[in-house]
Each structure stands twice: as C-alpha cells, then as structure tokens.
Point group: C2
Chain length 202, copies 2
Amino acid sequence: MSAEPGTVRPGGRTARVRAAVLRAAGDVLAEQGFAHLDLADVARRAEVGKTTVYRRWGSVTGLVADLLGDMAEQSLPRADTGSVLGDLRANAALVRRTLADARQGPLFRAVIAAATSDARTAQALRRFYDVRVGEWAPCVEQGVARGELPAGTDPSLVVRAVSAPLYYTVLTTGVVPDEAAADRAAEAAFAAAVSGVYVVGD
Amino acid sequence: MSAEPGTVRPGGRTARVRAAVLRAAGDVLAEQGFAHLDLADVARRAEVGKTTVYRRWGSVTGLVADLLGDMAEQSLPRADTGSVLGDLRANAALVRRTLADARQGPLFRAVIAAATSDARTAQALRRFYDVRVGEWAPCVEQGVARGELPAGTDPSLVVRAVSAPLYYTVLTTGVVPDEAAADRAAEAAFAAAVSGVYVVGD
C-alpha cells in the first residue's frame, strides 16, 4: 500500500514502458484526478508511443486497473511484531502514512472517487484491498493462535476495521488522521476483536 | 441522514422553489453524479426559471452545499433506547439504510466523490456530518452518565466509529453492508468505547 508505483525495477523494455506509463498515470491521478486522465497525455508524459499505450491498456479504466494491480504487488509486507496489537498498530501507521503521502493520498482519493461511478475501477479497487487484507490477515491468525484473540475471529474483518476510521476521516472531512488517530484505530479494532465482535460462523 | 431532501414542506413560493430545486439536484446527483450537475438542467427539471437558480445558488457547488444543509436539517432525530449499545445499533441501522437507499446511497457516494476534488463541497460535507454527529452525541453522553462508558469518552469519536466501517465498505468495495454488518459496527464501537479507546484529554 505504501510502495510507489512505477519506481525503477529490473526488466526489459516492456517492463520499463509499463513502469513509465503507470508512473505517469499515477502522477495525473494524484495531481488532477481521474477525470483528467487521458491515454494520449499519459503517453506523452511517459515518453512512450501513443499507439503502444492504446494497444496495451485500451482505456483509462484499464490503465487504472493495471496501476492498482501494480501497487498491490509492490506494497509493503505485513508486520510481525510478536503481538497482534503491535501488528495492527503497524498496519494503521502504514495506512495513515499512505493517506498522508503527498502523492499517494490524492491518488487513493481520486481512485476511490472514480470507483463510485465506474464499475471496472471499483472492481480493481476491491481487488487491491483484497490483496492488502490478505497480506495482513496472518497477523490476526497468529493472534488467535497465541490466544490473544478469540477462536473464530475473522481476520479480514479485523484488518478492515483498522483501515475504516482512517479512510472515513479522510473521505468525509478531508482531514488526514494524525498518529494518535492511527493508534486509536488499531486499539479500537483490537478491543472489538478481543470482545468477540469479529467472531463469525457457527 | 435518511430524510428525503426536497419533500413537500409548508412555506411560501420561495420555500417551494427551493424544495423543487434541491429535489432536482438530488435526483441528478443520485442518477448521474456530480459531474453531470448543471444549473440550467436543474432549473428545467425543477420547472423553475434559470435566472432564479443562477441568482439564488450561483454555482453547482453552492447548490450542493445548500442540499447538504437541507438534508442535515431534515435528517432524523437520534434514538433514545435507554442503553448506549441500543442507541448505537439504531444509529448504525439508520446509516446502513441511508447507504442502501436507491436514491440516497448514490447521492452520498456522488457527494463524497465530489468532495475529494472540490473544497467547497468538502466543507459542506464536513458540516453535514458535524450536524449528524452532534445530533447523536447525547446518546454517548447519557451512556457515560449511566456508567456504561468510561468518564472522558469523546462522544464524537464513538458516533463516527459507528459510521466508519459502513462507509468504508461501500466506498472501497462498492457493496452495501448488510444488517449484520451494521450491528457489528455498533458493537465494535461500543466494545472499543468500553475499553477506554475513545477517552481523550485528562
């Protein structure tokens, strides 16, 4: 979630072209929003032939879907602090830093806004969060195995509960949550999980 | 939060014009999104003179700000079930119904999307939630007074914690939370509040 899409990675010309195009697309999203995303403009910014961009990504929504896929692949691995509360705090801090980041914050807000009216972007966004939640779920599973959380606790619900208040604050107030708010998000998810709110099934 | 903006209310011609215009604006937002909102189109739908609409609201963002103000004024009063958990459950159910509503759900998503790139809409949205949070805050204050929650619990943090996972789910997955998710949102906020996570200051 906090990796910069389009940073230089090993690979041939195809990989370099993709990196340049995704970086340019991310720049436009962060600076101007989804409505201003245009394949010809992205091609020019990326110094890549327009035909290549049209052939490979086809549409703006195809480009955003690939960008989100790339961001999911490159995003940071989960924490392993030895306690579930420590791990959830690390997750909350990472989410907060992403939302506070001068490039990634606006980029996420732009994609979330676009997803409210574009089904393909919504699907790509859902997939992005599925990957992130899957990455962090073992923190909760370990917490259950260590007896810190009740058996049957749904890992996905706990991980999403950490992010929810941070995204909610940004999206409904425009204010980026501070570090205390991130800690509170982790502590609230932990307290609710301990009380059994996220035990499902049976 | 669940009141329909622009329903018929008593008042003179000015009030009727405002109701018709705000209803038309809400319809466009719900059906087509913020990008399609146009004062001339709203005037035609509302069967009101274009000049009146331009003179009174000035701009699309002025119109959305007035719509949100009207929705806040008309939104339902808080519950008073006798227990803070009961009240939080009622609040969660109301938020869920709003997000699930065929008109209000898309309307809120459209306004939240617009707020990511429009400062005046963001301010109007912030004010809307301030009014709603203020309406429900006494539920938490009573819970503290009855000894159900620790002294020093911040009412606003608890009320916002109920909404957060419901909005987060809608905005990042496109899926409207079900009744079980609404209950879980209330129970999680309650458990976290009981544990003292929302106690602030000294």
